[in-house]
């Protein structure tokens, strides 16, 4: 979440609607929509858990060396599948690599995939979904049918097909292939949000005052419809991390020498259930990362839903 989206709660800005101004108790500081979201997030325990976990994973991705002392690629084969010890906190893998270091390094790959898929989906959705919803007519027909076609191929199945063509690849390729089949979800969401947003009073007011199409879309419709997109983007990070792990596990996703939890799970599968710890650690980290983004999405959703304003939340 960037700072320009969330002004500090004490920023003095005019209230964005009459009802909200009226709902505020006398003496309370006037709040913007985003100030209000921030205020609600600060009271939500789930948000703190999510932020804490995501911060740790981001740190792991940017500076994995902060967490470890061993080289994840130093693998004496004589040390194969050692149990947990002071030397090797998570034991060692089949090749004798320090498993703790390998698992820590896996965070970067997963986060990379999650963020690429999520941000590309947002870009596609905000351009094509918004155009389809706002302009309607043949623009909507073309974009919506095109989206329907890709939407009809389940993401994992489609990605499995395309990645077989490439015989696997790196995190960027795998992300692009996931986006290829996953983009219609968010595009459909933005389209319907824009459709319901463009008939609102403030949009009609802007049009009456002489604003033109593109400006109305950019200044009025999109900013007010951005909440569901951000919430969905958080879920997309989680689901694409899961999709990558699944595809890699099936043998068509990432390949060595990339360090990824999916690859670790695939190797662990060959030693399952004898060496179950090989399965345990990457699974745990995978769950924590995906869980963090779902928690973030859930807390954002509750904080941004205007219908719940002033409720018992």
């Amino acid at each position: 979440m960037s700072d320009d989206l969330l002004p500090p709660p004490d920023t003095e800005v005019k209230p964005h609607s009459m009802t909200e101004a009226l709902a505020l108790p006398t003496g309370a500081k006037q709040l913007t929509l985003w100030g209000d979201v921030w205020r609600k997030l600060k009271r939500d325990k789930r948000f703190y858990v999510a932020a804490f976990l995501i911060a740790i994973f981001v740190l792991m991705a940017i500076a994995p060396f902060l967490f470890l002392t061993k080289d994840p690629n130093a693998c004496p084969i004589s040390d194969s599948t050692l149990p947990m010890s002071k030397q090797h906190w998570f034991g060692t893998d089949i090749l004798g690599c320090d498993y703790y270091s390998r698992v820590i390094y896996g965070a970067r790959t997963s986060l990379e995939v999650g963020l690429i898929v999520s941000s590309l989906s947002i870009v596609i959705a905000l351009s094509f979904g918004a155009a389809a919803g706002y302009f309607g007519g043949w623009v909507d027909t073309v974009i919506s049918r095109w989206a329907d076609i890709w939407f009809s191929i389940p993401t994992i199945l489609g990605a499995l097909l395309v990645l077989t063509l490439f015989n696997g690849g790196g995190p960027v390729l795998v992300s692009l292939v996931i986006v290829m089949f996953a983009w219609p979800d968010m595009t459909r969401l933005v389209r319907s949000t824009v459709i319901s947003g463009k008939s609102r009073g403030y949009v009609r007011a802007a049009r009456t005052m002489g604003s033109r199409g593109r400006r109305i879309l950019r200044r009025h419709v999109l900013p007010n419809g951005i909440a569901p997109v951000l919430v969905f983007a958080a879920y997309v990070v989680g689901s694409s991390v899961g999709a990558e792990a699944g595809l890699t596990f099936l043998g068509v996703g990432l390949r060595l020498p990339t360090i990824s939890w999916g690859l670790q799970l695939a190797v662990a599968d060959t030693r399952f259930p004898e060496d179950a710890y090989l399965m345990f650690w990457p699974s745990l980290f995978l769950c924590l990362l995906i869980g963090a983004f779902i928690l973030l999405g859930e807390s954002l959703r509750d904080a941004m839903d205007p219908k719940l304003f002033g409720g018992d939340g």
């Binding site: 076609i149 068509v252 259930p273």
Partner: protein, 302 residues
């Protein structure tokens, strides 16, 4: 439901289906390697035999013509033959029941548990049960955990395969169903909460209606459209073959044979499987849209 909506919705199916099959067909068409040589086990073939096979499978025709031959076959229920000479349709018929059983099991868990979680979570907000919908274990992790705990350690249920009859489907169904139930629960919960804030609900409470009736009659009925939509999508995805789950538990269903097909570069089988899943998807979606228009008549007058 207006007749106009029905016709418009039916007509929409055609271009989407043609486009989807075209994409799948093109993707497999791009796969490197000569299918005729693969059929011959990569042994040298006499040129006349080679050409005869090419003609028989229309491989000498341009891509678009091949696509139309495929569509023609599809319209007659013929999905072509694999490179080993087996009818793709036969393989699909053989694998279909496994995936169907798995789908029904997982779907039942999703519906029952997901709706239960949603209502409980919305009515008893910010409690422990409210957090139960946050189960976010990805299929790949949940599958192995269930397999390890209930199969390997406790010996309560079969670890893999389908030799043990219905009980073989319990763990795979749970693997898929629990995750879907949690995500359905999350969606339904937010929807139920949205509807609870509605004025007609406040009016119903003010009229003194019992809480159960308010939630059941007024809240849930209004949340039905998005819930049915998600259920439809999930059902279609499940029917397409749960690749990861079927791989973990060695269930010889559609997803499992897709993986085998890809690993053995069996193009016709792969196209057949993905085409089948897309067809199921498009028609499930059609059914769901018509159902939603039935539930909420406003939809057909959009």
């Amino acid at each position: 439901m207006s007749k106009r909506y029905l016709i418009r919705r039916l007509l929409l199916v055609v271009p989407v289906l043609l486009g989807t099959i075209l994409i799948v067909f093109a993707l497999v068409f791009l796969t490197p390697g000569d299918p005729v040589n693969r059929l011959a086990g990569n042994k040298p073939l006499a040129p006349s035999t080679y050409n005869e096979i090419r003609t028989r499978y229309h491989l000498d025709q341009p891509f678009v013509v091949q696509y139309f031959y495929y569509l023609d076959g599809l319209a007659h229920g013929d999905l072509g033959a694999t490179f080993t000479g087996r009818d793709v349709t036969d393989i699909l018929k053989e694998r279909f029941p496994v995936t169907l059983k798995l789908t029904l099991g997982a779907f039942a868990i999703e519906v029952v548990l997901g709706l239960l979680l949603a209502v409980v979570a919305a009515v008893k907000r910010r409690t422990l049960l409210d957090s139960a919908i946050l189960v976010f274990t990805p299929v790949i992790v949940l599958g192995f955990v269930l397999q390890y705990v209930f199969g390997v350690k406790l010996h309560w249920l079969p670890v893999a395969g389908i030799r043990d009859g219905p009980s073989s489907y319990i763990l795979p169904s749970l693997t898929l169903g629990l995750g879907l139930a949690a995500s359905l629960g999350r969606l339904a919960r937010s929807n139920v909460l949205d509807n609870m804030a509605g004025e007609h609900i406040r009016a119903a409470i003010a009229r003194g209606l019992p809480r159960r009736r308010v939630v059941g009659r007024h809240v849930l009925k209004n949340s039905l459209v998005p819930i049915v939509t998600i259920l439809g999508l999930d059902f279609a995805y499940l029917m397409g073959g749960a690749v990861i789950t079927e791989t973990i538990f060695n269930l010889p269903g559609l997803g499992y044979s897709l993986i085998t097909g890809i690993k053995t570069q069996n193009g016709p089988l792969v196209v057949g499987l993905v085409t089948l899943s897309a067809i199921i998807f498009v028609f499930t979606n059609l059914f769901v849209d018509l159902l939603c228009a039935r539930i909420d008549p406003r939809i057909s007058y959009e």
